[in-house]
């Protein structure tokens, strides 16, 4: 089989925010290194582009790193590694400023200083924004900045299929050159995975079609644990039907959530008392954390107090009182999206919204230096679980995470690559041929199962069993269904036998990844018999710090199935406490400095 081999120093898989930031960091730290940036799409297509609302970083005089730390740790229901959170809050602002120096058009105050907006679960306004296209501007700024480093060699539309491992060390990757249709093997001293999340395992999600958990699955297949996979964030405001994201910034700017009766129902779920329209208050009502808001919707839907629209159940996000000028200044993209995709102009009518799967808090296990347990393999961004988000991520922490830990990954990988050197070629040749033979067999698959049918069944099953509220019974059913789907996947039938841009083949590889990642999610969720953050069990409604103040680690067993064990959480200065929002959050207990 014809496989092209080449040597580089660092391979970065994924050209989104984390991958680009890592590439720049590595190029700046060691300009002599050859850095290969592989991405299955052109970098500016990566899903970072769709992040809207903002990017956290302490900047106001009355704000502090400690406040950001407390919000993040309590928002994550104490499942965050506190050393990681400390490092994060101390470096987020610096990274945002670096983006500013690279040209990111952050929205400004009239005097030219950086402006910040309120965001859910954040006590003080610290969300930097570029109107409501923050992710877009960060991604394009990073992409354009990366162009000035000649040592960053882009391999656009290279679909990474495997990690190459030799003697317990990650020594490169294997990929399909989508345009040429052949396999390539890139040996490297260090590999960074920055492949994003896996939201597409759900039927209704805010994610792009490419968000299929490929990197997570590749690491998993090499025995690297996936951590905290049961924590999947439902964003409270997606468009019904399509799931398109309607940013939290709508609420940060003062938007209201109303049920079918026009009632601001969040006050009935521990987030009140009601704040006056036009005067949003941090950590109250609409500015509560995402898990609580999505759960409130679920209860409202059960009580029949939601709108039944053509596109499904929904509540109303009312922005009308903000006025046209403010909407155009702060939320122009939301106006464009609502008009195009549900035919609603938010200036004159409320936008129908509902929770949809949005973000995988968990991912490839890494330490605080972004290193995975597999030497030579690093991971950053949504694909990684560095321990920042715990059981529920706060909006605007993930964009900052891309820069903070993307940079760490780039620097760590550069150091590692300098020390490790490029591995021996002969061993990898055999491994690469074995891998390629497997993918070639998949391309020729002639079973009778349809790709779309398995994909849709996966999405439905995850929504049913691993949604906003879960139960042991439903999770077990989903696990069983996933096992059946994996079986059906073995009898997949593909119709396209070609190699050049064979997207059916690539979709089939992605589906295999999705099935593995979904399995880890469901198994970890089944194992966690408590309710914490985004993981709410109807059959174990309380948080159980005795048994579950720990990370889950889903590992691949020899038979391909998942086993789950547990890892302690790093707690440094904020002992586990009660998580309160609204008036209840004013209790002094939480404010006590450790």
């Amino acid at each position: 089989m014809d496989i092209q081999h080449s040597d580089v120093d660092i391979v970065i898989v994924g050209g989104g925010g984390a991958g680009l930031r890592a590439a720049i960091a590595a190029a700046e730290q060691a300009p002599g290194l050859r850095i290969a940036l592989l991405s299955k799409v052109y970098p500016m297509r990566s899903h970072t582009v769709a992040a809207e609302g903002g990017c956290a970083g302490v900047v106001q005089d009355h704000d502090s790193h400690f406040d950001h730390f407390v919000d993040t740790v309590s928002g994550g229901d104490w499942l965050c590694d506190q050393d990681v959170v400390d490092y994060f809050v101390e470096h987020a602002t610096e990274e945002n400023l670096r983006l500013e120096h690279w040209g990111c058009p952050w929205s400004r105050k009239p005097d030219g200083r950086i402006n910040v907006r309120a965001f859910g679960g954040m006590k003080i306004e610290r969300t930097w924004f570029a109107a409501d296209r923050t992710g877009f501007h960060i991604l394009h700024t990073l992409f354009q900045t990366s162009l000035k480093y000649p040592s960053i060699q882009r391999h656009d539309e290279f679909f990474c299929t495997d990690l190459l491992v030799d003697e317990g060390r990650c020594v490169g990757v294997q990929a399909i050159d989508m345009r040429e249709g052949h396999h390539v093997c890139l040996r490297a001293g260090a590999v960074i995975l920055a492949t994003g999340g896996a939201g597409r395992v759900y039927r209704y999600n805010t994610n792009g079609g490419i968000v299929t958990g490929d990197g997570m699955a590749m690491a998993w297949r090499q025995g690297v644990p996936l951590r905290d996979m049961e924590f999947v964030q439902y964003h409270p405001t997606g468009l019904p039907g399509s799931g398109i994201l309607i940013t939290e910034a709508c609420r940060g700017e003062g938007g209201l959530l109303l049920n079918a009766d026009g009632h601001r129902y969040l006050q009935d779920y521990g987030l009140g008392p009601e704040t006056p329209p036009g005067s949003p208050r941090t950590k109250y009502m609409e500015l509560g954390p995402r898990d609580r808001l999505s759960q409130a919707f679920w209860h409202e839907a059960r009580a029949g107090r939601v709108l039944k629209t053509r596109r499904g159940e929904a509540v109303q996000l009312d922005l009308r009182h903000l006025g046209e000028a403010r909407i155009n200044e702060r939320l122009p993209f939301i106006r464009e999206l609502a008009s195009a995709y549900v035919g609603v102009d938010p200036v004159t009518a409320p936008i129908p919204v509902r929770p949809t799967a949005h973000y995988t808090m968990g991912g490839i296990q890494t330490d605080i230096h972004t290193a995975t347990p597999l030497p030579g393999l690093f991971a950053a961004g949504e694909c990684a679980s560095i321990g920042l988000h715990g059981a529920n991520r706060l909006g605007s922490n993930s964009l900052a995470e891309l820069s903070v830990f993307g940079r760490v990954a780039g620097e760590q990988a550069a150091s590692h690559a300098l020390a490790a050197g490029v591995p021996d070629a002969a061993v990898l040749r055999e491994q690469a041929e074995h891998n390629a033979a497997g993918w070639e067999a998949l391309r020729e698959a002639d079973g009778d199962e349809s790709l779309a049918a398995i994909r849709d069944a996966l999405g439905e099953s995850m929504e049913r069993g691993a949604g906003i509220f879960r139960s042991g019974e439903e999770l077990a059913a989903t696990c069983a269904e996933l096992a059946r789907l994996k079986q059906r996947y073995q009898s997949l039938g593909l119709t396209d036998r070609s190699r050049v841009f064979n997207t059916q083949w690539l979709n089939a590889i992605e589906l295999g990844c999705q099935l593995d990642v979904a399995n880890a999610m469901a198994q970890a969720a089944l194992g966690r018999e408590e309710s914490r953050g985004s993981h709410q069990r109807l059959d174990a409604t309380a948080r159980d710090d005795q048994r579950f103040l720990c990370h889950s680690l889903a590992r691949r067993a020899d038979n391909g199935d998942a086993t789950v064990d547990w890892q302690p959480v790093v707690i440094t200065r904020l002992p586990p406490g009660e998580r309160h929002y609204g008036e209840a959050g004013e209790k002094p207990a939480l404010e006590k400095r450790a």
Partner: protein
């Protein structure tokens, strides 16, 4: 509001075909069905071998540009309901670019042109983050902000007959990006970019057809950016001429 519509797609499979050919499908639609949804329906149900690019399905990633009835459009932001009265929808890969397969075009020429104009913020002295932000008022930002909204979808290249005639023409997106940085109050890279703008394949290769701005899905108005670039190019020429006449050695 619903129905079904004939969708005719240009096919080209490089390993089997020497020339493009047409394939027709009958696609059911409802009020929300986009051209991208139609393609996904075809791939799932009718013919799995049809290839096209897509990802975000919310008009921000820029992947799914295609010719819809001879107009360059984003598949995800074009709805079948608008063609309910038409006999059919005809889908082709983007004009003026090579076809890799089916609806997948080769956008590397556009990317190469974008790289040419050095689209990154240039400062003579790089600041450390500790120096804080470079001040920029909302009025200063407004000078370039709309030009920074380009998603690199390539529709403007498909719309530009000058790029069709001369693929070396830097084209709408690249020249807009150059202008975006030239107008940024924080940038000091204008001198480095002007040679490309002034050059034979720079702003003067544009004849102000203006269709690029009509098709831009993000209202970037590249025609405006390029023609403002012509003004800048003239000023730059005059300044250099003045320097030359004064005997400066930096002209």
């Amino acid at each position: 509001m619903s129905g079904s519509l004939k969708v005719r797609v240009q096919r080209y499979r490089p390993e089997e075909d020497d020339a493009p050919w047409w394939q027709s499908f009958e696609v059911p639609w409802s009020e929300d069905t986009s051209v991208l949804d139609a393609l996904n329906h075809i791939k799932d149900v009718e013919d799995g071998s049809l290839s096209y690019r897509w990802s975000c399905r919310m008009a921000i990633c820029g992947s799914c540009g295609v010719m819809v009835n001879d107009e360059p459009r984003l598949g995800c932001k074009t709805f079948l309901r608008h063609y309910a009265d038409a006999d059919e929808i005809v889908l082709r890969p983007l004009e003026n670019l090579a076809v890799e397969r089916d609806l997948v075009s080769d956008i590397d020429p556009m990317l190469a042109h974008i790289e040419t104009v050095q689209p990154w913020l240039q400062r003579e002295q790089a600041e450390a983050p500790e120096a804080g932000e470079t001040l920029q008022t909302p009025v200063q930002m407004a000078r370039y902000e709309s030009f920074s909204h380009c998603i690199n979808c390539g529709l403007c290249y498909a719309a530009c007959p000058q790029f069709g005639r001369n693929p070396d023409f830097l084209g709408p997106a690249a020249l807009t990006l150059a202008q975006r940085y030239n107008l940024d109050s924080r940038d000091e890279g204008r001198e480095a970019r002007m040679p490309f703008l002034n050059g034979e394949d720079g702003v003067w290769a544009c004849t102000f057809v203006g269709y690029c701005s009509d098709v831009c899905p993000k209202d970037v108005d590249p025609a405006a950016a390029i023609n403002q670039g012509k003004v800048a190019s003239n000023v730059n020429y005059a300044v250099n001429l003045f320097r030359l006449l004064r005997g400066g050695d930096d002209a």
